[in-house]
Symmetry: C2
Subunit: 357 residues, 2 copies
């Protein structure tokens, strides 16, 4: 089973084609592609690479702070969201962590790297994997967790839990002496970042993770950041991490990309419309059940006897790569995940699914 979007390389090699020839629905990237302003800055900044990145990334911090209307000292940039997850866990050293399931498998891997025990809190398939904050707060209160991890919007379910529910969890966590990490890597796609982010709760036991590479279609460049009202945590992370972890092009690209309000608004508007269209069209296909998404990807259940591995192989022959979702804790090989891409690409996926399911 392919664990990550990165495996487009292997899939293409196996087929003996270039990876550009594959339609990649396995990776949740903004279908509008890299902003032109970012292409330009990369083209024009190659000479910047002869200098080390700025040690404190002060310009990058200011750009991220302005984007979030927050003070620069409440954030730290990272070499992708994933670096910040590892740094946070290395700093916190939790002994027992609660994760909702299904969710992004890298949390468990990162927790294993700090020898932390992991418990999964299963979300109900029949409720569309909605997060039931009443049940979850009960578990948080009684379970003795050092840390609770929520992915919001959730990968792979595509559900978005509203801030008032997150607030209930946050209060339960605070009362129980637990920390709360909220991974908001996909929140930009919802258009609700300014109104629904957990950072708005201003609670020092909350650590918010953000990615920029998904929304700006730059996963190869690696850039993310963390937001927190726990100054001591941010300071510890910064004093103990390896220097220069963010490359200069990623820093420059971010500064430019965050200024591109038109691209940001067009992306949100496009996803808002196209995810609904793709969801509705998927819903019409017999034998599969899509879960309604808040974001740029859709979780799908195969309702017949066809397994995700077999479907992946069939679609690969049509040069379409999907993500098997059976390696998400709590899912099995009756689940797949597809990205929302351009209308044209999505139509090719729909056509292929109609033929192969």
């Amino acid at each position: 089973m392919e664990l990550h979007g990165g495996n487009i390389y292997k899939a293409a090699r196996k087929l003996g084609i270039k990876k550009q020839e594959l339609l990649d629905f396995s990776s949740n990237i903004n279908p509008l592609g890299i902003p032109q302003s970012v292409r330009d800055i990369i083209h024009n900044s190659i000479d910047e690479l002869t200098a080390y990145p700025e040690l404190d990334y002060s310009r990058l911090r200011e750009a991220l702070a302005a984007h979030n209307s927050i003070q620069p000292e409440r954030l730290t940039p990272g070499n992708g969201a994933i670096e910040l997850i590892y740094l946070y866990l290395q700093q916190l050293k939790p002994r027992k962590t609660l994760i909702t399931a299904p969710t992004f498998s890298e949390y468990s891997r990162a927790l294993a790297s700090v020898d932390c025990r992991v418990e999964h809190f299963p979300l109900c398939e029949n409720a569309g994997f909605a997060l039931n904050s009443t049940l979850l707060t009960g578990e948080i209160r009684s379970g003795g967790y050092d840390l609770v991890i929520i992915c919001n919007p959730s990968n792979p379910t595509g559900r978005f839990t509203p801030l008032e529910e997150i607030e209930r969890l946050s209060q339960a966590a605070a009362a129980a002496g637990s920390r709360l990490m909220v991974d908001e890597s996909f929140i930009d796609f919802t258009g609700e970042m300014q109104r629904q982010s957990a950072i708005l709760l201003r609670a020092p036991h909350i650590f918010v993770i953000r990615s920029l590479t998904k929304f700006f279609a730059l996963p190869g460049l690696r850039i993310g950041y963390a937001l927190s009202y726990d100054r001591e945590m941010l300071a510890s992370i910064e004093s103990r991490r390896a220097p220069w972890s963010i490359n200069s092009l990623a820093a420059l690209a971010t500064e430019v990309a965050l200024k591109g309000k038109d691209y940001i608004n067009r992306s949100i508007a496009f996803i808002k419309e196209e995810k609904e269209r793709l969801y509705c069209e998927l819903n019409k296909i017999e034998g599969i059940k899509p879960y309604h998404p808040a974001v740029n990807f859709i979780l799908i259940k195969l309702e017949g006897s066809l397994r995700s591995g077999e479907l992946r192989e069939r679609l690969l022959k049509r040069k379409i790569l999907i993500r098997e979702a059976g390696n998400f804790e709590g899912l099995d090989d009756s689940f797949i995940r597809v990205a929302v891409k351009s209308r044209e690409d999505n139509n090719k996926l729909l056509e292929a699914l109609r033929a192969e399911v």
Copy 2:
């Protein structure tokens, strides 16, 4: 005091000029600049950034393995040499480490991040900071160290310790149950990598660090690697690290750069000749004493009353940035370090030093 080359940003801001207007002798980068083949691949690969980097970096590994005539499983790539130093120390968790002094200050910072006690082994200024392996093996044998760190060629002294001396240290370390980390970030500049690297000893207690960003003038892009015959150590590092730490452009640039044998040979030949010329010319200037370099930078002692901070300020007014060396353990504010740059740039430095010292 400015700790790192990255502070060209602050120096330029302070002067109110662009950093391109500063002649940067503070950062030890190949004066031949970025290879044309690397510029081309970056220009032509921006679309690659829409995919995640390859999860196992198999092409990058093969390129590095071929460059070192070693099996790919004996190396691991990293987000700059510094990431690998941190990962190695996090894995090893040494309690007591011996570092020769003066040396690169980041070792101490990285050791502090794993709460390790550090002892410094002072190298003798009168001996030109040569590593005396007889004295050092004695200390290794008796000191009860978990780890010994050697920078070879040494930053900031520019000395290169021959392999037979490293072998003596390695044997002493093995006998004492110590590990040996050899940072060879500057070995490419010597032209002796294939004959003098510590990896040739094939000893499983040795961990070799390499940088590619200095030799290929790409410190902003971040790429390094580690070599070791300790498979378990490499496997542990790989299983516990955050994924995708190397950006796609760094991986592609490395694959292309390592094929550029002409650039590699021209760089080695240029440094070999120009470092000697610069050293000889520096030697003629009254009031300063350069230490003979094996590499692309030169440590200089100010013999009069002029302190490094004052000289740095004077040279900055001439738009020349040097590195104060007083923050290297064992040195003080009578030391500076300068890079070997183009003949024209070096002549400007010489002229400025003749006027200001």
